[in-house]
Structure formats: C-alpha cells, structure tokens
C-alpha cells in the first residue's frame, strides 16, 4: 500500500520492497501480542566487511578472490570477498582448504586497527540517523528508528540514506533489514546480500521466515541445528509450531526464547553501546604457530595471555573471581579447567600464577594447538582495600607498568624475560 511520506528526503513514498506483503492471516508474530506502537528496528550488516575494506584500500585487489587471514598453515579465513565465495571459500576454512577451493586466492593479513576505525566511522553515520545505536559486532549494528518513523520518516528512505552515506564515506556496501524487532531485522538483512534492503512485517513471517532452515536464526549454530534435526525440526516454522513445554524441557529457558524468536517475536530493546553493562568475562586465546608440548613454552604463552587479560581487566576497572584455562589438542578436542580466587583479581602476575598452577595440575595427552585464559565473575575492582605493604607495593608497580604501556604501547614493559617467538601464532 503506498503511503505518502513526510520523510525529510524530498517526500519519498513507501516503495514496495521484498517482504512487504498483504496480510497472510492467522499468524501472531511481532511484538508478542503486547499493545503499543510497533517498533521500527534497522539491522545494518556490512558485506564481506574485512575483505571489502581491503579491496577499497587497495584497488589492485578489487574484483579478485581475496581472503583476509594469515595464509600460513595454521591460519583460517576471517572473511572472504564475494569473488572468493563464488569459488566456495568460506569463513572458518583453513588456508589449505581455501586454496584448494580457489587456487588463485589472495591472502591478506588482517589489519584490525583499520577495521575498528572503519567501524567507528560507520557508527558516526548511524548516529546521524538516531542516537539509539547498538553495535552487535564490528560489522553489524541495530538502530532503533521508532521515534523517527512516528515523526513521519519512511524506514526504507532512512535505510537508503544510510547506504548512500556509507558508500560515499567509506566506499563500502551493506545490507539493511527493517522489522519490528531485532530478531526479524537481522533475519531480514540476511535475505539479500550484498547491498540488500529488505523489510519484514509481522504478517510476512509465515511466508518469508518460517520456510527458512533453523540455523538461519541468530542463536542456533551447527550443534543446535543437529539437535533440532534429530527432533524432526528442520525449519523455523516447525520450531514455531513445536510445543514450547518440550523445548523448555530440552533446552531450558533458552528453548522458550528460540520458540519466541522463530515465531518472529522479540522484545529485546536496542541498547546503545554506551549504556551496555560490563562484560561477563575477559579472555584471550591463541592458536600457536606449531603444536607445543614443552611445558616451559606453554608457560611462556600463559604469561603473555595473563598480561593481556590483566591489562584489559584493569583498563575496564574490573577484577574477576574465576579463572579458566583452555587447552586444545591438534585433533581439536578442547577443554577448560577452572580455579576460583578468594578475592577478586586483576593483577596479571596473580592471574599467571594461578594459570601456571592449573597447567601443572593438568596432565596433557598431546602437545597443544591452542591455549586460552578467561577471567569471569567480574566485579568492580578495588572494592577490597588491602593494608599489606607487599600488596600495596605490588599494586603501585602494576599501575606504573600500565602507565608505561599506555604511553608507549602494549608490552613495552612486561613480566618475565622470555618471549614467545616461534610459538605465538
């Protein structure tokens, strides 16, 4: 149905877009049946983000099959350009697999500073439209445009404006989904890539969403998809029709959420990034350049990981009560061992001491391919003051080291003399 728009972009009318259909009757998706104005949520998803940034920066890479990743034997593909995807190259493939798919594949090492700064510029563009911007990842964001639409703006016009600004400012393309909630908006943006613009209304859910496979839903990965398949649930429509009591029995409260989401209902608000709460945990892991069996080398890696985790915790003003050390063997078997601290900890050397003791107490059946450390049960640091002189001196030393590293760069000053050359991936 055409609507006269008061868009502020020269009076655009609502244009028919994929998914904007008449009522299909019978369905009750959208806002969970709660009365109130329907929200308008946009999900912006940058297309092949890392690869696109590299192709924009270096014209020689445009139109060529490109994978952002290390290229070495242990490396995996972070992102593949659309030209590489046409050859079957996918995110997560090892470099060897990717090269077998596409012999002419060009590997470009990732430059996370470049992508992070680009993300910052994208967020500035989003905030020209609305202050309610939630960064879901470095290349995805949700925008709450409800107030703008209530004031007469046309969602599709807002989305086109965003796409034009992004194209003009950074030369990149994105897909935007428009829907009454975050789950549907994210599904919508996935429906047309690259450079898509799809609106899904509540009445479109049975026709557009329910035929999709279950793993099209954010929150259902390969393992959960297999579990659903064993239950005879292959599509989102089948999931929406599945008895919620049985889902709750099998998957707990998460089963209820999945049921709601598959029906196109989602009450989650768009939370501006600056209002988001503290992280649940802080961790770092590394895939090593070679499988490491030597205990001394493993200790060196844990030392470096401990420094990284401690730095981030202190920078966030947080300390943690539980430490997990993760091990992965060459056959990809992965497991973690946990230890709890009596008092919350943010000191890298204390984190390291516990990580080292975990390592010492963990018999390993093989050299490790990956090591990781994660600090959790976080709370604001400094709640428990100490009077012990040694602890006070240690605190002052850690703060001084942090000031040096802030000023001159990471690891300008660090604990321990040994490096991680030859094993750090």
């Amino acid at each position: 149905m055409a609507e006269t728009a008061r868009s502020g972009f020269a009076g655009e009318r609502t244009a028919p877009v994929a998914g904007a259909a008449g009522s299909s009757g019978g369905a009750n998706p959208s806002g969970g049946g709660r009365a109130g104005p329907e929200r308008t949520i946009l999900h912006c998803d940058m297309n092949a983000f890392f690869a696109s940034v590299e192709q924009e920066a270096n014209p020689a890479l445009r139109g060529r099959p490109l994978a952002v990743g290390g290229g070495g034997p242990r490396s995996v593909v972070c992102t593949a350009s659309y030209e590489a995807r046409a050859w079957g190259v996918k995110t997560g493939m090892t470099a060897g697999q990717a090269r077998r798919q596409c012999p002419d594949l060009i590997f470009v090492p990732p430059d996370f500073e470049k992508y992070t700064d680009t993300c910052r510029r994208l967020v500035e563009i989003y905030r020209e439209v609305t202050p309610c911007v939630e960064c879901f990842s470095v290349d995805e964001a949700f925008l709450d445009a409800t107030a703008l639409v209530a004031a007469g703006h046309v969602p599709e016009a807002l989305a086109r404006r965003i796409k034009e600004r992004i194209r003009g400012e950074v030369g990149l393309r994105c897909s935007i989904g428009i829907a009454p909630n975050k789950i549907l908006a994210k599904l919508a943006s996935d429906l047309q890539k690259p450079d898509g613009l799809v609106r899904v209304r509540p009445e479109d859910v049975p026709r557009i969403v329910w035929p999709l496979p279950v793993n099209a839903l954010c929150g259902i990965g390969p393992r959960l998809a297999v579990a659903f398949s064993r239950m005879g649930v292959e599509t989102l429509g089948q999931l929406a029709a599945f008895p919620v009591g049985l889902l709750r029995e099998r998957f707990g409260i998460y089963g209820e959420y999945l049921h709601e989401w598959s029906a196109g209902r989602d009450r989650a608000p768009v939370i501006p990034s600056e209002e988001a709460g503290p992280p649940v945990s802080i961790g770092h892991s590394v895939t090593l350049e070679r499988d490491v069996g030597e205990r001394e080398r493993q200790v060196q890696v844990l030392l470096r990981l401990s420094e990284m985790v401690g730095r981030r915790a202190r920078a966030a003003g947080l300390a943690g009560r539980t430490l997990a050390v993760t091990f992965r063997y060459p056959d990809f078997e992965t497991f973690s061992r946990h230890r709890s601290f009596g008092d919350p900890v943010d000191d890298s050397s204390l984190i390291f001491e516990v990580a080292r003791s975990v390592l010492a107490a963990t018999p390993l059946r093989a050299p490790v391919r990956l090591l990781g450390i994660r600090l959790s049960k976080l709370e604001p640091a400094g709640r428990q003051a100490t009077l012990f002189p040694e602890a006070v001196r240690r605190r002052a030393l850690v703060q001084a080291m942090d000031r040096v590293n802030d000023r001159y760069g990471e690891f300008s000053l660090r604990w321990g003399a040994a490096g991680t050359e030859g094993v750090w991936g």
Partner: protein
C-alpha cells in the same frame, strides 16, 4: 603488499576537499612519487599517540601505505603494492 617501515619525506595538504590531511607526494630512496589519490584512510594508536594511515596511488597505479605519527610528526612508508 610488501611491508616496510621506512622514514620518508611527504608533501601533504590540510583541509582540501573536506579532508583533514591528504598526502600529495613522497620521496623514497631518493626518488619522488607523485600521488594521484588516496583510496582509504584510518587511524590507529602507538601507545597514547595517534597514527594516521593512508592508502594512496601513484601515477602508475601502484598502491602505498603511508603513516603519519601525530606525536613524532614522522611519515613512514609502511607498505608497497605494485601493479602486476
């Protein structure tokens, strides 16, 4: 791209075409390079200092990455990608 970290001389314009800073030429190993355009720009950090990065093209279409360290005010050639 071939990675480098060579200090270079750079001529740059501030405030042209709405851009805060744009390299126009640079000199490397005694040879001048005239730049036709910048394809991308981004910022990173070296400790507390900002480092500005520029992907630029010369008249032959070769691509270079120049960096400008805001604290030391030194330009470096960080990488070269020759047209093949």
């Amino acid at each position: 791209m071939t990675e480098l970290n060579d200090v270079v001389q750079v001529g740059a314009v501030f405030g042209r075409d709405g851009k805060k800073l744009q390299p126009v030429w640079f000199a490397w190993r005694g040879r001048p390079y005239r730049l036709t355009r910048a394809t991308y720009a981004w910022s990173g950090r070296d400790g507390q200092a900002r480092v500005h990065h520029f992907s630029v093209l010369d008249e032959q279409g070769n691509c270079y990455e120049l960096t400008y360290h805001a604290e030391t005010m030194v330009w470096r050639l960080a990488g070269v990608q020759e047209v093949t």
